[in-house]
Symmetry: none
Subunit: 203 residues, 4 copies
DNA sequence: CATGAATGAGCATTCATTCAT
DNA sequence: CATGAATGAATGCTCATTCAT
């Protein structure tokens, strides 16, 4: 039931929807071509504006990069937080987080690729802010892994790097025709949880 | 007289010295700033040349990118092949390969980062060639994992993605003060080989 | 009820308050940075407006320049006229005019610098109007010098150029910690009035 | 006898003559329109170049301003030094300097106007350098005035400001149809040297 | 009176590339 | 092999100005 029949507001807030359009276009182009290979004119043209007009909405190209980064972080962090909240078993929580991470990485590719691919050192003036956002997001996985009951000889630090690295690298190989994010997450977690080494046959 | 007198020398002792210098400079700058943020003038200045002079050695900036990529691939592939040849046990071979991969990724950072970070779609005309090199290199890990004896329910495809992704993601977190590439490889392999899930206490 | 009840008030007490604020801001910025280096946004921001809103008060940036120029001219001309009216001796009148000229040049710097520094050829469409204002103001000094009793061999034209040029050039060197405008005017007039050349000793 | 018949050098030095052309064009345009109102495209077009090509010869627009300033200073300083060297009487030396100053101000208008009109605070990064050049040049007039034999009550500081200000202000009123620089200098110096005040008739 | 949003032209500057010398 | 000089297109950004609301 999407619309009520009475009293639709005469003027929709209309607020800032060009800013959203601009950010969507920027996110898409940054992903497709990279930040440096995307020009302000490209972004403007994508929304039917002139390049100078962008500056009414954003102070600089780097500010756009940061805005895309922040929006990507927000989306993936919200999804992970929501997914984790539904589970209580530590391994189930980690798997839910991994699936949510992957799901948003793929569904909101435009915004999240910039998160994955932009190194703070490349981001100029907004580099430090990006570094903070990155750290803040990663702390979720750190906590989830700390909550696991693990054999004492396992190094949680490397477990995290293994899983988190593999999840992020998915941007290189993931394609929509293949397995779902949930399946990928389950396979990754299964591979980690189980004994892989088959005892060598004695001879 | 360094060479025997018969047969034309296969390679002159230090032919095209400047080309090597240029490539080193390009590799370093591409890593430090990214491809698009590096100008031909930057590269030329780094070797004390004028930018126009580069074109005696390379046809274009993209050709330089490809040359860096190829050199990086050659170095890492040679190291992995040599390391694998020394081992016979499949898990030991995979660990040796992982350690060699990491070691070259770090020791020859300038050349290999370009391999890790350049997406084929960003590379313009040399994109397809880069895609081929990437696939060729990855096939080594595919084979090493095929040779493992694994429990039947384990999906080798995802094991490879897990390990290879994590290894490549190391560029984000690896720093020279921390563990050695060999230690990292051992920790990753241990984490994978062993049983992580502790059986839940019955109640 | 600030005005008497009969007769329409000639000017409302503080009509178009914002116009005055805008003009003050423009004058200050034109002086500090020059006309071309000042943007409408700078002026608007200085009074807490958006740049588009200026156009309610002024037709264009050049109109603002002219308005500043006219206001500067008015202030300096009024001051000179008032000062001259108090004296009757021609040299005293010239000195009073010079002191008043300098005093307003300094006290109303923002408005008068634009007078001193804007060449008509730089002022675009309002150039001719500026030329007229300049000539009108200068005529005062022409008249004051015509009224002096001078030795016949003195060229009044060059006396005026000497004094008027030196007074205007004061914008380059005058600073508030130094002598007062009155002192400067007295020194200039003294230097002119007196015999400077000391007869060379005969030998 | 402008050319010798034998052995004209086949290749003239040809060095840097585009740089000179560019500087001439910049000087002219800076004078005609002011620094800020002149664009790099204007300068380039004036010598039949594209605007980007200027940057082979100059690092920035401000560097061009400085180069014009320096060249103007050099020309006027050389002329003044040469003129002063020919005279020995202090008043004659001052008059020769004033005439030379005016002569170069007019003959090399394009270069010297920038000297006269550019305030250090407007020159951005090259402001301090301009301030130094200005001070260096002015010291000549300071010395010439120190060498005069003057009545003790005369303030040499204001004499210098009077003369130097009036000379520089000449840019506002000087036109080629009028008196020569030498005549102007003579009139200015005469006006200064002589007794202007006619003793008031006793009554 | 003023804003919010945009225009369109223009800005200084940088770029990869070319080519005669 | 390399330079000196330039090209021509593009870049991020700023500008005065407009106008519906």
């Amino acid at each position: 039931m999407p619309a009520s029949s009475t009293a639709t507001p005469i003027r929709a807030p209309r607020q800032d929807n060009r800013r959203v359009q601009l950010l969507d276009a920027a996110a898409r182009l940054f992903r497709e071509r990279g930040f440096h290979a995307t020009s302000m004119r490209d972004i403007a043209k994508a929304v039917g504006m002139l390049s100078g007009s962008i500056y009414y909405h954003f102070d600089s190209k780097e500010e756009m990069l940061l805005a895309v980064y922040e929006e990507g972080e927000r989306r993936v962090a919200d999804a992970v937080d929501a997914a984790v909240a539904l589970e209580s078993d530590p391994w189930a929580r980690l798997e839910a987080a991994s699936a949510a991470h992957l799901r948003v990485l793929i569904a909101h590719r435009d915004y999240t690729q910039v998160m994955i691919r932009t190194l703070p050192q490349e981001a100029g003036a907004v580099g430090p802010r990006i570094r903070d956002l990155r750290r803040d997001y990663e702390s979720r996985f750190r906590r989830l892994i700390d909550d696991l009951a693990l054999p004492p000889e396992i190094d949680r630090h490397y477990l995290r790097l293994l899983l988190f690295g593999a999840l992020n690298w998915s941007q290189v190989w993931f394609h929509s025709g293949g397995d779902s994010p949930e399946t990928v997450a389950r396979r990754f977690l299964d591979t980690l949880r189980r004994q892989l080494e088959v005892p060598a046959p004695r001879h």
